[in-house]
């Protein structure tokens, strides 16, 4: 590792260390916003608005051009390539969560796609019964009992718990160890491709949301719950919202002492 890599590593470690501390502090101080998930709301909104502007004026148009100029199979291969590079992190977190069988299958998946799938360009593992899993350090912490923490918007929606994934995912990505000269254009391609894959979702949001910030936050937090439970969250969580509305959501058969949620 070169000096610049060590420097990057130190930066990431300090960064996540600060954030974990902040998470601890943020949940004990008086909330600026009334929303219990989002004590950092004013700062988050500032970052959100700035990034949205940048996205609208620059990033999104570039992603749209990329989509119109690049045939689907090519974009799929590019997505596969980057997904494969980040798969070591999935394997790492599989084992940390005690998902040994899944870890073994994921190792096979990585090996197959990297070799027979030609450096990950082709996903040959899914058709033979080894589909992609989605695990990250935030989910690992969740299975260890760490709760979501505060919602945090930096380069996209995250939380004080989930942002810690930046450390292992960076260190376990082989490209981190290449020189910056090689890394730069590849990172740009990764960014544009990722944005292109999110165009459908962002269009749905732009169409339906009155307050894009709240919409994004809510969708992100719920999707994290979904992922932590590997796509099968307990059904009992679904109707909490009806209990919150005190008696409104309950017919006579379902009346319980509802919790009054301060919004």
């Amino acid at each position: 590792m070169t000096a610049s890599h060590i420097l990057k590593l130190v930066k990431y470690l300090v960064y996540s260390g600060v954030l974990i501390l902040a998470a601890g502090c943020a949940t004990t101080q008086n909330n600026v916003s009334e929303n219990s998930h989002d004590p950092l709301e004013p700062a988050n909104r500032t970052v959100f608005n700035a990034l949205e502007k940048l996205d609208k004026q620059f990033i999104k148009p570039v992603a749209e051009s990329y989509v119109s100029l690049t045939p689907v199979p090519v974009r799929t291969s590019i997505s596969n390539f980057f997904d494969n590079l980040s798969y070591l992190n999935v394997i790492f977190n599989d084992f940390l969560q005690g998902k040994f069988e899944q870890g073994m299958t994921d190792m096979l998946r990585f090996a197959y796609n990297s070799t027979f799938g030609i450096a990950g360009l082709f996903d040959i593992s899914t058709p033979i019964g080894m589909p992609a899993n989605s695990e990250d350090f935030g989910q690992t912490l969740a299975t260890w009992g760490v709760n979501q923490g505060s919602y945090l918007y930096l380069l996209g929606p995250s939380s004080t718990r989930d942002i810690t994934d930046q450390v292992p995912s960076t260190l376990l990505n082989p490209f981190f160890y290449f020189s910056s000269v090689v890394m730069a254009p590849i990172s740009v391609l990764n960014a544009i491709n990722t944005r292109a894959n999110l165009l459908e979702k962002s269009n749905i949001r732009d169409e339906a949301a009155l307050d894009a910030y709240s919409f994004t936050r809510e969708a992100y937090l719920q999707q994290r719950e979904f992922k932590v439970h590997d796509g099968n969250p307990p059904a009992s969580g679904y109707d909490d919202i009806f209990n919150d509305a005190s008696d409104i959501g309950n017919t006579d058969d379902n009346k319980e002492s509802g919790m009054l949620v301060i919004e």
């Binding site: 339906a208 709240s214 059904a235 679904y238």
Partner: protein, 207 residues
């Protein structure tokens, strides 16, 4: 084995199979009308997807409006979305909200389900949550793409089962809208919410 023994075995097998499947279906079929809202919704969505080129936006809107009004408990959904703000509103404001919210939801469905490429809906399971409330788990199967999980909470309202919540890939539509709309009301007031809803509706509808 002697021939008549084989026949006996086969007949026994078929009779058992028949009885067994009747047992299974009797269990699932506990209340057939529970499935109606979700099945009707799925059938209508597939219809509007297939009819994109032959039917106008308004015609497809009418199809979905029929489904929403009949099979969703709109008044309840509206109340839950506005939460504690609901009681602070006048009757006319409540009606305005329900009307605008309804139109936006229907328009969004029509706009999003706008192409057909062999997709289908598959019901996976029905679980009881409370005496009067069930969750129906389904998935939207697409060719060459991952399936989308659509779960529905249905509740019996005066004899009819109606959908009160839709959860797509773990994201609860009701929670999403509640966070979104309450943020607008808090920052800019209720009238601004109605204006924004109407703005969104006109953005979606073709000129």
């Amino acid at each position: 084995m002697k021939l008549q023994h084989q026949y006996l075995l086969i007949t026994t097998f078929f009779i058992s199979f028949f009885c067994f499947s009747k047992m299974i279906w009797a269990g699932v079929d506990r209340e057939p009308s529970i499935n109606v809202p979700v099945n009707e919704l799925h059938a209508s969505l597939l219809n509007i997807m297939k009819d994109v080129s032959t039917k106008s936006f308004q015609e497809r809107y009418n199809v979905m409006e029929e489904v929403m009004v009949t099979h969703f408990d709109i008044p309840l959904i509206a109340k839950v979305i506005l939460g504690r703000y609901w009681k602070t509103l006048e009757k006319k404001e409540q009606t305005d909200f329900i009307d605008s919210f309804n139109r936006l939801t229907i328009s969004t469905y029509v706009n999003q389900f706008n192409s057909y490429n062999g997709e289908l809906f598959r019901t996976l399971s029905i679980e009881q949550m409370k005496k009067n409330r069930f969750v129906i788990k389904t998935e939207f199967v697409r060719i060459d793409d991952t399936p989308v999980s659509f779960n529905y909470i249905v509740q019996n309202n005066k004899g009819a089962w109606k959908i009160i919540s839709v959860i797509a890939n773990g994201i609860n539509d009701l929670s999403l809208k509640r966070a979104d709309y309450s943020s607008v009301i808090k920052k800019r007031g209720f009238d601004s919410l109605i204006t924004s809803l109407k703005q969104k509706i006109s953005n979606i509808q073709p000129k």
